[in-house]
Symmetry: C2
Subunit: 141 residues, 2 copies
C-alpha cells in the first residue's frame, strides 16, 4: 500500500516526540492550489492512532511557516489572523509528515498531538458528534 | 479515548461489507453549517486502515442522499453537478460512520472502500504526494 497508509505504518512504530522538527519541503509545495481567498484546507491526523483530529485552513505563508517550524500554524477565517495551534491552549501539534492530494487543493498533516487534544471543547478530536450510523446511540459528550 | 478513535477501534474489528447500509441520521444533521456556496467539506477515512482517502464537497442534498443510501455522493465544484462516487469507476465508498466537527463546518465519513481505491490516479488514497517531512525521499509514484 502506498501513500498515507505506509506513512501511518511507519509513524506507528515511532516513539512520539513532543518537540519541533523542521521539515524539508519538496517541490510539491509549488503544486498547492489555494482557493480564491488564498486558502487551502488542512486535514490533521494523529500519527500514533490514525485519528482525524481536525480540519482548519492555511494560507501559503502559514503552510510554509508550519513546515519550517514543524508545528501547525493556521489562518483563522473568523478572526482573519494567523493562529499558531497551542500557543494559548498548550495543545500544540508537531508535524511528522505532510501530504498533498491529487488535485493539489487539500493538505494532510500527520502530527503528534500535545496536551489534552485538538479540540477547544476538551475532546481529543474535533469530530465528536455523531451525524449518523451504527454509533448514533453512543454517548457523544 | 472518545470520538473517531473509538469508532476506528470498532471498525477495525468489523469485517468489511461491500454493500449499502442506509444510515439513521441524528439531530446533529441540523447543526451542519454549509458555506456561502451551500457546501461542506467531507473528509473520507477508510474504516479498516484509518487511512485518509480523500476530501470532497457536499451540498445538503448530497449529504442527506449519502446517509440515506449509505454511500458517498459529492458535489463536483468543477462540473457543478452531483457525483455519486464509483458510478463510473466502480470505486464505491460504503459509509459506516458519519461525524460532525465541533463548529459544524466539516464532516468526517468512515467508509469501506470498494475497487482499487479512492483516487482517479490509481492510488488508494488521493494523498500520495509528499509535501515535506521524513518521507520526502521515498518514491511517490
Amino acid at each position: 500500500m502506498r501513500g498515507v497508509g505506509a506513512a501511518l505504518g511507519r509513524a506507528r512504530t515511532m516513539t512520539a516526540m513532543s518537540e519541533p522538527t523542521p521539515l524539508a519541503a519538496t517541490g510539491v509545495l509549488d503544486a498547492v492550489r489555494f482557493d480564491g481567498e488564498g486558502l487551502v484546507p488542512a486535514v490533521v491526523q494523529e500519527a500514533a492512532t490514525g485519528q482525524v483530529l481536525m480540519v482548519a485552513w492555511m494560507t501559503e505563508a502559514t503552510l510554509r511557516r508550519s513546515l519550517a517550524e514543524g508545528r501547525t500554524v493556521f489562518w483563522s477565517r473568523s478572526r482573519q489572523e494567523e493562529w499558531r495551534k497551542g500557543d494559548t491552549s498548550g495543545d500544540r501539534q508537531w508535524i511528522r509528515e505532510a501530504w498533498l492530494d491529487c488535485d493539489g487543493d487539500t493538505v494532510l498533516l500527520v502530527v503528534d498531538q500535545d496536551g489534552r487534544g485538538a479540540c477547544h471543547t476538551g475532546s481529543h478530536s474535533c469530530f465528536s458528534r455523531v451525524l449518523a450510523g451504527p454509533a448514533a446511540s453512543a454517548p457523544t459528550s
